[in-house]
């Protein structure tokens, strides 16, 4: 049994107080108060009846409409401290088998002549100190995961259509259809996929689709202590991820392959592939 993350209800949409309410007169206030008190009397008198008569509210999953969302992910590499919380949270949330990774963190130690890259156990236990044989001039961490590409080769090569992209922009695998041929694993340029050694089907990051469709954040975003990882909805104009993609200088991994990743990076170094 793996530990599930604490479910945190999403904050309501930021609807500010209306201008009319701000400028309400005393007369309007009294009228409103009267209406409210009479409503309260009715409510107190017939609460049980009202309860029975009101239509049952649908659970969050059923209310979800994927036409209303288009997800994207933003990673600010300057903020990552390599604590590995995201990798641990992902493992706990999704039951990722040992030795395989839906997300991982890479450490870059870079000098003018050389660069050292490592990711011991995907960074799940953080990073031990290292010494390099060259003069290091900068060092940073880069979280990695499935890029949920728009033009993704993994979906293209799946011989049975088990890999697919949802309308809200998440690349998923149907474990009931997957034949375990590993063609998608070979085709992913980012090393994001693997065959689960237990059920022998392809597995990868789903951006915690089971959470995001309930209005929650992916586990890795939820636990990131520095705000390195941000999950956003491109269909919301005020979304911070959308704002960053629109206005900041963002980069993607292996852009030359034209896979149109939906995982964007801020301050990406040339050494990162």
């Amino acid at each position: 049994m793996h530990e599930r993350l604490r479910v945190i209800q999403p904050s309501p949409p930021p609807d500010g107080p209306s201008a009319a309410a701000c400028g309400s007169t005393r007369r309007e206030f009294l009228a409103d108060a009267l209406r409210l008190s009479s409503g309260a009397v009715v409510l107190l008198a017939g609460a049980s009846i009202a309860e029975g008569a009101a239509p049952a509210e649908k659970p969050a999953g059923e209310r979800y409409n994927w036409d209303e969302h288009l997800y994207a992910y933003l990673i600010d590499t300057t903020k990552c401290i390599g604590c590995g919380s995201c990798v641990r949270a992902c493992r706990a949330e999704n039951g990722v088998p040992d030795g395989f990774y839906r997300t991982w963190v890479e450490r870059y130690v870079v000098g003018m002549e050389s660069a050292h890259v490592d990711s011991p156990s995907g960074g799940i236990d953080g990073f031990p100190p290292i010494q390099v044989s060259f003069v290091a001039t900068k060092s940073f961490f880069v979280p990695k995961m499935c890029n949920h590409c728009k033009a993704t080769p993994c979906i293209q090569v799946c011989p049975v259509g088990a890999s697919y992209r949802t309308k809200d922009g998440v690349v998923m695998v149907d474990g009931e259809r997957c034949i375990g041929c590993a063609y998608c694993v070979q085709a992913c340029p980012y090393g994001s996929r693997f065959l689960n050694p237990t059920n022998h089907t392809a597995e990868k990051c789903t951006w915690c689709y089971h959470r995001v469709t309930k209005g929650l954040k992916p586990a890795c975003v939820e636990v990131c202590p520095t705000g390195t990882r941000l999950f956003g909805d491109l269909k919301r104009a005020d979304d911070p991820v959308r704002q960053a993609i629109e206005h900041d200088r963002v980069a993607i991994l292996q852009g030359h392959l034209l896979t149109e990743p939906q995982c964007y990076y801020l301050h990406l170094d040339k050494e990162v592939r």
Partner: protein, 408 residues
Amino acid sequence: MPEISGFAFPNDVHVWWSLMIVLYPYLTGFVAGSFIVTSLYHLFGRQEFKPVARLAMATSLAFLAIAGLPLTLHLGHPWRNWFVVVTPHFTSAMAGFGILYSGYLVILLLEVWFVWRQEIIARARRSRGFMRGIYKLLALYTYDTSPEARDIDHRAITVLAAIGLPGACMLHGYVGFIFGAIKANPWWSTPLMPVIFLMSAAVSGIALLIVLYQAVSKFQRRPADQPCVSALARWLWFFLILTITLELLEIIVMAYEKSESWVIISELITTRLEFSYVTMQMIVGGLIPLILLAIVVMMNRYLHERVRNTLSTAAALLCLLQVFAMRWNIVIGGQLLSKSLRGLRSPYESEVFGHEGILMAIALFIAPFVILWVFDRLLGFSEPEEEGGGQAEHGAAPERAASTTMQL
């Protein structure tokens, strides 16, 4: 856990495509290569291939019967293999397998039937009891051996060979495409890949036929037809030159371009694949048979029969090694290389037992030869000249050759 030199993406340390995926293109290579040889006789009227034309066709069928098995055995869910045929996802190169495989199988079965029809009927008439029933069934209860029926047979064979040749080429070219179209892997991603696979298929097919023909001749205690051996050696030499040239060109272009991936690929070739690539694929399986075959081809008329047989068979055996090494280096080599282009994993060692192990691979490689043996017992490889069928073919082949030349 495998050892990693440099940095590999954490999920990139596994070899997902195992020995079975090495074996799959190896077996389909024999299918395509053998069919090319049989087409040289049936379609292009090359009379020198007549002694091996039937053997080549039976070889193609025997290997095709087994070719799908390694793919299935490799799957995480082998019982879902029919999904690929029933609900193919057409943007996938792999989805083409069902169509190409079954299409080619139908064409090949039909062609085998037309080629062996006279023989089946003759055996049905000769045999008694249970075997008679078998031959009767194989003849589809049609005993028509009239000149008109034979003429129809010959025309059908030509038409089927004309469809079958591109079919065989596409079946194997598509195997190369499966690798060549993976842009994530620089060791695979080259448009040359399907062509290299096709050329090496021809090499493996012809090489196998040289070995098989010598074995069958020994088994039947008949001397191997020397013009046929010479022709096979000549065509093997031709296709080996093309294969080695293309394989070298692929590397030379990468090295000359100093492409992003060349640093890691050069390390892959010179460290992890040093034995299988440099030694086996290029020297033992490439350079040496090139020299041996050059001797057979260029000094043909000075060679004693036994020397020719020995040299060409030795070269053919080395070519079989070369092609296996090439499949290994492509399939396994491509997975030793991380897509980070910063690291290599330690060499892959296949399991011995298990459904993807070495013993299974050996069994799958032997299985087509067992099928061939059964085929020989049932229908035979020799041209039925003594029954008059051969004479008809003798007459028909040059006519077909003439018509093909005219069409060309």
